[in-house]
């Protein structure tokens, strides 16, 4: 077997979707009762038939999460390094055809941003860029990692997919985690949403987690952009992908995200709306399916939703995020990738977490552990 693509090719989107919508109450009850849940169980748990079992799912999800992760929530924050991008993505504020001023932070600007992020209390940072291989390339990442490594215990990256050799080069620089979202597993729709740029190559993106696994990355994050296609089917493929990766790259840790399409200037309306109840259903379904996977929630979601989701299965949360390069200190007024919904400061979020009997954790890694 060479990559996930070999498994993926044996599935058909429409048949998979139909099999999810065909699940009934009996399937859901069997899934709930099972001590070790399968991919078929996952289908039942994300199906419309599971909607009326939400409270039960939430209870199990809470218990499983407590057992594995305890009463703690990890805190992280994004640092946007660049909004230069050669891709056209119909849903993204940084899309090539979107007329925004482009900016890539210089070393000095990065340090100005880092100072503000450190003041907020963070020890875990997520570096984010668009895809501009001429200026924001492996050397830029190496220099940036070198620069910020002394200041953070844990560095994650959400940038363009890279080649295996690139990942192998970056890990010695302190790169711990890479997030790469497939956006959608619907190949035709993927092509519609990514008409131009390197990102239009569906298969290269699909095989990125394989390259990460081969490079021995500590942790990788998967997910789809909810709103592009039927979320139940897309999230089934995410679960399938996770299942494959865990077995093959058993030394890596995994995390899942479930971003819902947010408005931005000149943006796309979601094709499929997912309401709050459905997002809770998805979070619980992921947890019931996989007890060990980390589940992460961003400031895309509303304050009241985020307040209440803390106890239901998520393990990591961002706060005080800016989604524009220079947003913390250098150019706070520039255009964001997407509008955030929860503007509360990290300290306010920490207070909310504590009020629910959980401990906000700012540090859960040390770069001395991978020398």
């Amino acid at each position: 077997m060479n990559s996930f693509n070999d498994i993926f090719e044996t599935y058909n989107w429409d048949d998979t979707k139909a099999s999810i919508y065909a699940k009934n109450a009996g399937d859901v009850e069997r899934a709930l009762a099972s001590p070790k849940r399968t991919l078929e169980d996952f289908k039942a748990l994300v199906s419309p038939a599971a909607a009326s079992y939400l409270e039960q799912m939430a209870n199990i999800s809470q218990q499983l999460t407590l057992k594995r992760f305890g009463k703690v929530i990890q805190m992280y924050v994004p640092l946007y390094l660049s909004n230069e991008c050669n891709n056209i993505c119909t849903y993204c504020g940084f899309s090539y055809d979107n007329k925004v001023r482009r900016k890539t932070l210089s070393p000095m600007e990065i340090m100005q941003e880092v100072a503000v992020i450190k003041d907020m209390g963070y020890d875990h940072v997520l570096l984010v860029t668009g895809e501009a291989n001429q200026t924001v390339h492996v050397d830029y990442f190496k220099k940036t990692l070198d620069l910020i490594r002394p200041h953070f215990a844990h560095i994650s990256m959400e940038v363009q997919p890279l080649d295996l050799e690139d990942y192998e080069q970056l890990t010695p620089y302190g790169l711990n985690t890479v997030l790469v979202y497939q956006e959608t597993y619907h190949e035709d729709d993927y092509k519609k949403h990514h008409p131009k740029g390197k990102k239009s190559n569906f298969q290269y993106r699909l095989e990125t987690p394989d390259r990460l696994g081969q490079a021995g990355i500590h942790k990788m994050g998967l997910g789809v952009l909810i709103g592009l296609e039927d979320w139940r089917t897309d999230c089934f493929f995410t679960a399938l992908h996770l299942n494959y990766l865990e077995k093959r790259y058993w030394q890596s840790k995994y995390s899942l995200s479930f971003p819902r399409l947010r408005p931005f200037s000149g943006g796309l309306e979601p094709k499929v709306e997912m309401n709050d109840r459905e997002l809770v259903q998805l979070i619980c379904a992921y947890r019931l399916f996989n007890e060990e996977v980390e589940l992460s929630i961003s400031t895309r979601e509303s304050p009241s939703f985020r307040n209440n989701i803390i106890k239901l299965g998520v393990t990591a949360i961002s706060a005080g995020s800016k989604t524009n390069p220079g947003g913390y200190a250098v150019e706070p007024q520039s255009l964001e990738q997407f509008e955030i919904s929860d503007e509360r400061s990290p300290q306010e979020i920490a207070k909310v977490i504590r009020a629910q009997g959980y401990e906000p954790v700012w540090k859960d890694w040390d770069n001395c552990l991978a020398k």
């Binding site: 407590l66 057992k67 594995r68 992760f69 305890g70 009463k71 703690v72 020890d123 215990a153 942790k219 865990e246 058993w250 030394q251 890596s252 840790k253 060990e292 504590r354 009997g357 959980y358 401990e359 954790v361 540090k363 859960d364 890694w365 040390d366 001395c368 552990l369 991978a370 020398k371």
Partner: protein
């Protein structure tokens, strides 16, 4: 009293510091447990500013000894580096060696653990390795200079109790170093059972931290460990699986 590497312990309950809902609650629970050896994950504490670290400042009691652990490392090389850093920052040469390259089930790697134990023991560390309940590995670790062995009762964090009891009994019967049952102990009765069969101590974290009353649960574990040890010292009656036959098979020898 239990002695490990020359240090004596009144309490046979060792504890962890993870998963608590607050560091204040952690402090209260650890005090209630009476534990004198508390393990701290190097990845969770700020070793550079250890005077201000929220976990470390709450463990500053004369009766509490810190046991830094290497959770997060994947091989012997990383473990040795982490242990050296812990020794420097926390001023202790004790280390709980945790090498689990598998982040899903956190299963200890026996090969890398043996390698790291050999190296660390030579460097003067007091090594307490977290391992599978593997009797041969325990003997090999003894040869390598380990200060104790810490076989798992069941998968870490699983609360499943002493699933490995048959192997634990073999380990205990042939060990020349203290045997500390680590991982999987879900209830005070599991802890009591471990001490009853002759384990020298247990390490408990999840079952205390995640309970709805960690302080009370810590006290319950304290009492269970004491009861288990007393029962061991008083020698448990051997369970008899069958009744004694009324016509003994060997009675003909007396005829």
């Amino acid at each position: 009293m239990l002695t490990i590497a020359g240090k004596t312990f009144n309490s046979r309950l060792f504890t962890g510091t993870g998963k608590f809902s607050s560091s204040i609650l952690m402090e209260d629970a650890l005090l209630a447990s009476g534990s004198e050896l508390v393990t701290v994950a190097l990845k969770r504490v700020d070793v550079k500013n250890n005077e201000q670290d929220d976990i470390l400042i709450r463990l500053k009691y004369p009766h509490i000894n810190l046991l830094p652990n290497t959770s997060g490392v994947r091989n012997a090389k990383e473990a040795v580096f982490a242990a050296q850093l812990a020794r420097e920052a926390l001023e202790t040469n004790w280390v709980k060696l945790e090498i689990h390259p598998d982040p899903k089930y956190l299963m200890p790697d026996p090969i890398e653990t043996l390698k790291a134990t050999e190296e660390l023991a030579k460097m003067g560390f007091v090594v307490l390795p977290y391992i599978h309940a593997d009797p041969v590995l325990c003997k090999r670790l003894e040869d390598a200079g380990t200060a104790a062995v810490m076989p798992l009762g069941s998968p870490i964090g699983s609360n499943k109790g002493l699933k490995t009891i048959d192997f634990l009994e073999i380990i205990i019967s042939q060990s020349n170093v203290p045997v500390i049952v680590d991982a999987g102990i879900g209830s005070p009765s599991d802890a009591a059972r471990a001490l009853e069969i002759g384990a020298d101590a247990v390490l408990v974290n999840t079952a205390i931290a995640v309970s709805s009353n960690p302080v009370k649960m810590a006290k319950a574990f304290k009492m269970a460990v004491e009861a288990g040890r007393m029962a061991f010292e008083a020698k448990l009656a051997t369970p008899v699986a069958h009744a004694v036959a009324s016509s003994p098979l060997t009675s003909f020898l007396d005829e």
